[in-house]
């Protein structure tokens, strides 16, 4: 496969990536870990023991969990050179669909997991529509998922009549409220999704194909990868993650709302890009995305602890994104110029 990839469009990119993939990603992840540690030191210096307490770390992780699961799905789509702007809206729609009276009644009669299943199915369904539009309809990913972003939010508002739907299914809430081994269930789910995502991207054919499609779709097609089927599968995966995140949001807030997940697509993209996944595709890192999510959650926590102004946090977030991408470009050009 690599021999077929090399002579195609950007010829030097594929071999360079192959040769430098491991050390490069190690260096990048190390950089993120250093950034996170630096952030923790800032947190400790400015907020002291309040930052270091176990409760506070649990708070950071619980906040990170929902966006984290969305970001894992997003990592796959971006690695394959796509983008999914609809994840926030799909999360909202999933939270609404899974908390309708009908779903809750059915969950009460059968099993609480019906709620989770519904949310996941809604997410996967939206992802399927995205994927088919992009792969077979030849609609640009940006436009197709933009349409889904608007449409899913509207549908959520229609179903809920813009009202908040309270979850009364206590078994569902109790499950998610639990903390096995002292770690909240939402954090366990995030960890599990991240671990599965890592295996899928780094240790399976599916993952290698994803990277190949992102690096050069034409070359991937010539190498015998069914690019269109693969693209559909990727958007379904991303939608599935958004749906699961919708169920997690439902558990965290005990209520479904059409406003859930507003602008989460941007949070997820920011975390993925800061993590080191190339926005143009061809390189992806789950560990980086997890670290990216943690960096933004820790940042938000430190600002809250220090009672800082309303807008400074957004400015800092913007600065972090720019610095991270600038550094990435330096890495990328270095690995290209040194054969």
């Amino acid at each position: 496969m690599s021999t077929t990839t090399a002579p195609a469009a950007p010829p030097e990119q594929a071999p360079a990536r192959r040769r430098f993939a491991l050390p490069g990603s190690l260096v990048r992840n190390l950089g993120l870990v250093i950034a996170l540690v630096a952030l923790c030191i800032v947190g400790y210096v400015t907020a002291g023991d309040r930052f270091l307490s176990t409760d506070n770390f649990v708070t950071i992780l619980r906040f990170a969990a929902v966006i984290g699961v969305v970001s894992i799905g997003m990592t796959f789509v971006i690695t394959a050179g796509g983008i999914d702007l609809s994840v926030g809206s799909v999360l909202g729609l999933a939270s609404i669909w899974a908390s309708t009276l009908a779903t809750q009644t059915m969950a009460g009669q059968v099993h609480w997991s019906i709620i989770v299943l519904t949310a996941c199915l809604v997410g996967a369904g939206c992802g399927l529509v995205n994927g088919v539009l992009i792969a077979y309809g030849k609609v640009v990913a940006f436009i197709a998922t933009l349409a889904m972003m608007v449409g899913a939010r509207g549908l959520a508002e229609m179903i809920s009549d813009k009202r908040t739907q309270i979850v009364t299914e206590n078994d569902f809430l109790d499950f998610f409220r639990g903390s096995p081994l002292g770690v909240p269930m939402l954090v366990w789910i995030f960890a599990l999704v991240a671990a599965l995502g890592w295996v899928l991207l780094n240790r399976t054919t599916f993952g290698r194909r994803t990277i190949a499609v992102g690096g050069n779709p034409e070359a991937a097609r010539l190498a015998g990868i069914r690019v269109r089927e693969h693209t559909v599968a990727l958007y379904v995966l991303c939608g599935l993650c958004a749906g699961l995140a919708g169920a997690m949001m439902l558990a965290r807030t005990t209520a479904g709302s059409s406003t859930h997940g507003t602008l989460y697509e941007l949070d997820a993209i920011a975390a993925v890009v800061v993590g080191g996944t190339l926005l143009m595709g061809g390189r992806g890192t789950i560990v980086g995305s997890v670290l990216g999510v943690l960096i933004f959650s820790a940042l938000s926590n430190i600002f809250t602890l220090n009672n800082l102004s309303i807008s400074a946090q957004s400015v800092t977030k913007g600065a972090i994104i720019v610095v991270a991408v600038l550094l990435q470009q330096r890495f990328a050009s270095r690995s290209l110029s040194s054969p």
């Binding site: 506070n56 908040t164 807030t253 406003t259 938000s300 602890l305 309303i310």
Partner: protein, 355 residues
Amino acid sequence: MSAPLTLRRRLMLGAAGLTAVATLTAGCTSNTPAPDPNQTTTAAGGGGSEGNPNSEPGDTVVIGFSAPAADHGWMGAITSAAEARAATYQDVDLRVVEGTNDVNLQISQIETFINDGVDAIVLLPFDGAALTQVALRAMEAGIVVVNVDREFSDPNAARVTVLGDNYGMGVSAGRYICGELGDNPDAIVAEIAGIDSLPLTQDRSLGFNDGLATCGLDVDNRVAADFTIQGGEAAAANLLQAAPQIDAIWNHDDDQGVGVLAAIEAAGRDEFFMVGGAGSVNVMEAIQAGDTVLQATVIYPSTQAADGIDLARLAVQQRSLNDFAEVEVPRLVQLYAPVVTADNVEQYLPTAFQS
């Protein structure tokens, strides 16, 4: 509730001119939050009312404050009024977190307050039901939770709840229009609502119908906007097209009212008078100047969270409202929706918000 009260006292003490002038200057020159000049005046007057035992500093109270993003004037004023109110107390340490429309983030902010062991939390939730669980946890941790404006789905989640009166706004507007048009049973009344699917809009419209019914009037033309300026402009333009002759309009929200006025001016119509809603500075100034169709507005206080700060402080310090016989701070405070006209506008201008 106590904000307007102390204010009224202040006015009686003769600070009226000073306060009004200060607010006007602020309104004309900058984006300074409206309550600021008012608070400066209060501080200059000695930090609260003289002879009020509750204005004496007590044990320091750490209050965490969280509200949705300031995406319209009223919501912006909620936070700035709360900050200004807290600044007048030496014994209040206010922690304000980033305003957000993301309930996930707002929950984690409240969790941080719980971890920090604050004494009280004043919370205007983006979504009352979604924040109920974390508020319950805060109450279980012994923190005084003051719920402002959007109610939790469980009354146990708050020690004090401060609410506006949406139904009352509608009644006030309806009764005022009755007072102006009551002798004309054929008068054409129009209504420009906010986001129609929200319960608060339904409450306002219900109240408006009930208010108008006291003199046999009803709503002839009704349109709904979305609390934004462009939404107000579009809805009003349609309304003016649909109704060639109108006698009175009630517009639910002064933020969208900027757009409504623009549409009215573009259409060159002035055969009617208009009543606003919520009570912004520019609407009150227009009422004062009397050079537009705006004749009145009904208030939905943007000082609710400031009242929340007062009540949280008193509840933590185990004081009572000293004009009440009751020993404890009340469980529920619902604010009144008065009508502001040219006659009483000076009284309300200092607590108006910048849209």
